[in-house]
């Protein structure tokens, strides 16, 4: 067996250390930026509108900042186990025999993380980020404590909710010429979620095998298909359901439940497809080997060696997706996807707070019931 020459290892190690230094440098750059931000806002009292361009520095400031942060990063590298090294898992091995005392007291295990250099650094970074975020977004907690006049009115009227239109349709509320009661529309909404989940899972199931490395990685053509399918999953998944609803609402018709179903289905295919393929990639390869050795074809491998291993987790993921779809379907009407949300936003706009309360209570009850149901089913399966 060939042993790697140590020169190559040293070179690789040097590259990684340089990269770690670069990461530390970026970190210190961030710290320096945050310090400048606070300096300008508090001590020099400049009102800052953006977070990227308003920092004004004297001419010598930039080189000073660059060199200063670089010096800090180098210092970190040299004195302890820096954040960059930790992130790259570069070990700093000290080859020395441990004393019995160290082993007994547990000192051999190393310092707790908040006393190591990288630990201090990451806590500092976290605190700095929260503080910076607070100021960039310009949060004012007083607004939370002094609600507006309208909110007081709403809170006053929403209890008790008015269930007048639970069974009987509200004559004032009409969708495409039909009157709807809360119950009617809730049933429509639940079916939207159900259809989207079933359709999405049915498409994602076969697709997921094309997106699994261990099934497709046998030929260049296989890799090509794998790349396409994985790309499809990733791109379509990163476009949120709400955005898909906008697309389909324009394509089909504003407020049509079909638009909502399509939006939910497309996102379900991509999301479940990715989860399914990852499960397929994580199977025990043993049974695959056995089926191939017995002369089984690719389809037989999937049927006999892969499916039995992934079915339980496929069910669990599908039920989990069902939960998400139920919740999504209640608000998708906001962007023209149809469903109970239409009623929700109608009452909100009309200021009918008591009726709105009834719709919200129904949604909460249904979502909770569905969550409970799928939770119980999941327990059964896993």
């Amino acid at each position: 067996m060939a042993v790697k020459p140590s020169a190559a290892i040293d070179a690789a190690r040097l590259r990684r250390r340089l990269f770690a230094l670069f990461l530390d440098w970026l970190t210190w750059g961030y710290v320096a930026y945050a310090v400048m931000y606070f300096l300008q806002e508090y001590w020099w009292s400049r009102t800052l509108y953006g977070f990227y361009n308003p920092l004004t520095l004297p001419g010598w400031g930039w080189p000073a900042a660059v060199l200063g942060t670089l010096a800090m990063a180098a210092l970190c590298e040299l004195t302890g186990y820096s954040l960059g090294e930790r992130a790259l898992k570069l070990e700093r091995r000290e080859e020395r025999p441990l004393s019995r005392e160290e082993l007994l007291t547990g000192k051999a295990a190393g310092k707790p993380f908040w006393r190591t250099q990288w630990g201090v650094m990451s806590i500092l970074l976290l605190a700095l980020t929260v503080a910076l975020g607070w100021h960039v977004v310009k949060i004012s907690p007083e607004a939370l404590l002094n609600p507006s006049e309208r909110a007081r009115e709403m809170l006053g009227e929403i209890f008790p909710p008015d269930f007048r239109y639970f069974f009987t349709p509200d004559p004032a509320f009409e969708l495409r010429g039909f009157p709807y009661s809360i119950l009617n529309l809730m049933v429509v909404t639940v079916f939207m979620a159900l259809l989207a989940t079933v359709l999405g899972a049915a498409v994602a199931l076969p697709l997921s095998f094309f997106g699994a490395r261990n099934i497709m990685g046998v030929s260049p053509a296989g890799w090509f298909v794998y790349g396409i399918v994985r790309g499809f999953f990733n791109v379509f998944r990163s476009i949120e359901t709400m955005l898909w609803a906008v697309v389909f609402a324009i394509w089909i018709r504003w407020g049509s439940p079909l638009a909502g179903i399509m939006a939910l289905t497309v996102h379900t295919i991509a999301a479940l497809g990715k989860l399914y393929s990852e499960q397929v990639e994580g199977i025990d390869p043993g049974p695959v080997e056995a089926v191939v050795a017995a002369g089984g074809s690719r389809l037989e491998v999937i049927r006999y060696a892969v499916l039995p291993q992934v079915v339980p987790s496929f069910w669990a993921f599908t039920l989990y997706r069902w939960d998400i779809n139920v919740r999504m379907s209640t608000v998708i009407a906001l962007v023209g996807g149809g469903g109970i949300g239409d009623m929700l936003f109608y009452y909100k706009n009309e200021g009918e707070w008591a009726l709105l309360g009834a719709v919200m209570a129904t949604i909460v009850a249904v979502v909770w019931a569905m969550d409970y149901l799928s939770g119980r089913l999941r327990e059964r399966i896993v």
């Binding site: 043993g286 056995a290 050795a293």
Partner: protein, 257 residues
């Protein structure tokens, strides 16, 4: 029988990942009906050699003939068909854990049935009868409809043997069939393999970790060391010196009874 049944010529396998040369120019021949045992340290290339013979792993160089057919030249399709004649059993049994013993045994028939039928789970009655007969043979008839993961290790390996029997193979590849089992169970499993060899005339290639097992069951032994063939001969020929050559200076022989 002048014609050897299995011929391995200058077989070399290089794993691209990690640049490991797992087999270096290995050549040997096996006659029909032999029980050939492959020994060698962990990492010496035993599993790789066995998997090259049914091309679960593609050899980098060299040729392999089985019964006069150059299997290293077969197309994937032809190879799939040829695999029906080669049974295989594995160190970790490789059963479908969540399926019944019956389903597991029937997968041995996949090569004989059209894919569209097997996808629907349809196997001819004759196959099911054969499955029951083979389960009976390994003493697991009453476990036919138990889930495979509810069986003990020894029982699982017997299911593996029944699955291999379903192929009605001429050649059996056994990759450390007993190293996950205790000594007593090891012998019972080895005896089923021996029975296949002696009663059904199946040529057996088995890798084993214990020299005592190799001596007891093998009619011939080959040894690998760092991917090279370092011994090929009768079990009795392995003396202390040979043993140290194969397993290294510090090795001690362990008995397993």
């Amino acid at each position: 029988m002048a014609e050897p049944y299995l011929v391995v010529e200058h077989l070399t396998k290089v794993y691209e990942r990690g640049h490991v040369v797992a087999l270096k120019d290995v050549s040997f021949e096996v006659r029909k009906g032999e029980f050939l045992v492959i020994i060698g340290l962990s990492g010496s290339g035993k599993s790789t050699l066995l998997r090259c013979i049914n091309r679960l792993i593609e050899p980098t160089k060299g040729r392999i003939f089985i019964d006069g057919v150059e299997i290293t030249k077969l197309s994937p399709r032809q190879m799939r068909k040829f695999r029906r004649r080669i049974g295989m059993i594995f160190q970790h049994f490789n059963l479908i854990k969540r399926a019944t013993v019956m389903t597991n045994v029937l997968t041995g028939r996949l090569g004989y049935n059209p894919t569209w039928k097997t996808l629907l789970g349809i196997f001819p009655r004759s196959d099911r009868e054969l499955a029951l007969r083979n389960l009976e043979r390994v003493g697991l008839l009453e476990k036919a409809y138990v889930r495979a993961d509810e069986l003990s290790g020894g029982q699982q390996q017997r299911v593996g043997i029944a699955r291999a029997l379903m192929q009605e193979p001429e050649l059996l590849l056994a990759d450390e069939p007993v190293s996950a089992l205790d000594p007593a169970t090891s012998h019972s499993v080895m005896q089923y393999i021996e029975q296949m060899n002696q009663e059904d005339g199946v040529t057996v290639l088995a890798s084993l970790h214990f020299l005592s097992l190799a001596r007891r069951y093998g009619t011939r032994i080959i040894a690998l060391k760092d991917g090279e063939l370092v011994f090929d001969g009768a079990p009795e020929e392995i003396d202390d010196r040979k043993f140290k050559e194969i397993y290294g200076e510090e090795a001690e022989e362990v008995e397993i009874r």
